[in-house]
Symmetry: C2
């Protein structure tokens, strides 16, 4: 969790955000501002009055994990999540062992960054594979191996259901219900779920599953992005700025709140259109859109 309202007020008084809006819960995921280096991200968030960020492994590794942790600490930034572990679905034993090793490294990195949440993108079908049920079981098997290791490092594994359009090549876990079916095999302190509006907005069962997730203390992370069309080739980089699409973002936020979630609202938008712009402009727009469409 980020700062209290008083702290947020303090940030605002140092000139970051003039509108008086409450950015206490806002976390900016680094991938949303890919044009920024880690120091630029830290400085930009401080300037804006945002004290939470979501980080990704590759840029953190490039900068140096310990150095990144120090940079965040020095700027008073809390790391709300690390993306990402996962890719558990290989059927080849060597590949599976390598994936487990890589996930242990991800847990180590999350612990070093001081975040309690490692987001898991579970993986798609192996080449030539057609058995999605078996692939989902391999996800559960891998989590069974990793959860105790994560718990030892005070990191919670957060299973992220991805939109069904990614089911074959990125993530066989497509609904919040499926994510919870696996998460609930483990203690809530060890395995939670990610609620991401981009992936779940279409699902009429999501509201009920949010209640279920909240009742079990399973909501580890809440991410927001809007849904816009047409989808680009490959469908990875077509997320919309908050308010530009058809997702009832405020409705989602109210649902996770009603389910007992008190954590950050992490803005994670993969969009070449945003990446092409001046980072500070995008960050200010995100804060504005967050206040208007999510708060």
């Amino acid at each position: 969790m980020g700062g209290t309202s008083d702290e947020a007020g303090g940030r605002e008084s140092r000139g970051g955000w003039g509108s008086g809006g409450d950015l206490t819960r806002l976390s900016i995921n680094q991938e949303t501002l890919k044009q920024w280096s880690l120091p630029e991200l830290a400085a930009g968030c401080v300037a804006l009055g945002v004290d939470q960020v979501g980080l990704w492994r590759a840029p953190v590794q490039e900068y140096g994990v310990e150095r990144a942790a120090e940079l965040m600490r020095d700027n008073g930034l809390t790391v709300t999540s690390l993306c990402r572990g996962g890719f558990f679905t290989a059927s080849d034993p060597k590949e599976r062992a390598a994936a487990l090793d890589d996930n242990r490294a991800a847990i180590d990195e999350a612990a070093a960054l001081g975040t309690g949440t490692l987001v898991l993108v579970s993986g798609g079908l192996p080449a030539g594979g057609r058995d999605i049920a078996a692939a989902r079981e391999r996800v559960a098997d891998a989590i069974a191996v990793l959860a105790p290791y994560a718990a030892d490092h005070r990191v919670r594994l957060a299973i992220e259901p991805l939109h069904p359009m990614y089911a074959s090549d990125r993530c066989v876990i497509s609904t919040l219900g499926q994510a919870l079916d696996i998460a609930e095999r483990f203690p809530a302190a060890q395995v939670g779920v990610v609620v991401d509006t981009y992936h779940l907005w279409w699902d009429d069962r999501a509201p009920g599953q949010i209640v279920r997730a909240g009742a079990g203390g399973r909501i580890a992370c809440f991410q927001v992005a809007d849904w816009v069309t047409p989808l680009p080739e490959g469908v990875l980089l077509g997320r919309g700025q908050l308010g530009d699409g058809c997702v009832d973002l405020r409705g989602f936020r109210e649902q996770v709140d009603a389910a007992g979630y008190r954590g950050a609202v992490e803005v994670e938008i993969f969009s070449p259109a945003l990446w092409a712009r001046e980072g500070a402009d995008v960050a200010a727009e995100i804060a504005d859109r967050y206040l208007r469409h999510v708060c």
Copy 2:
């Protein structure tokens, strides 16, 4: 339904399909062979030993509805479905009235073609809309208006759940469960559902919903296409030839059969790669793939 096995044998003996495979249940959806005119489609199916086709409104209208019906009859072809009615989700009253009129025309055309199945693509969210639950209710409202008219014309409305990646701009009905939730408000003879492998393969609840659909006599149409990635821009025209992707097509066919479905297996693949090839080659490949991956 198409011909009996004896009739299929007769077709084969006239030289259509040399492998001895049973094409009795195969129906070729016209959109799969978009490079063919209606007469070419009819001749090509006869040559292949296929006696069922799925048709689309626009090319049928262009050719003339009565003339198309005659062409099909003259070639001994059964029309297994007409695509498509639907697009029921406008909130503007004038647009809604126009959609209902257009759907009545679609029902008339289906009746003229002698098919008992009008496939419904329900429509996406209206511009600026964010209330997907309300849009789904408008789908049900429209079907309530149209079902008696369809029944008078011996046409069954077949609600097709489309993959969730189309939820915002084409179809707010994304799962077989949602389709059945609406269909079951009406008599089974009036409103059924479409089971399309391309749209449903990712859903762990689909098998149970197929059982539910079969038990209620709701499976009006069974369509097959494979799932391949990367998806193209706009995600409309990225379907895979049978066997090229990750869908357990035979498993789906066995499930609908076990649920009591005895109708056609309609191959509906939107693929510029297939459209660019010689129609007869594509048709022969479809028959071969059907026998190897679906039968």
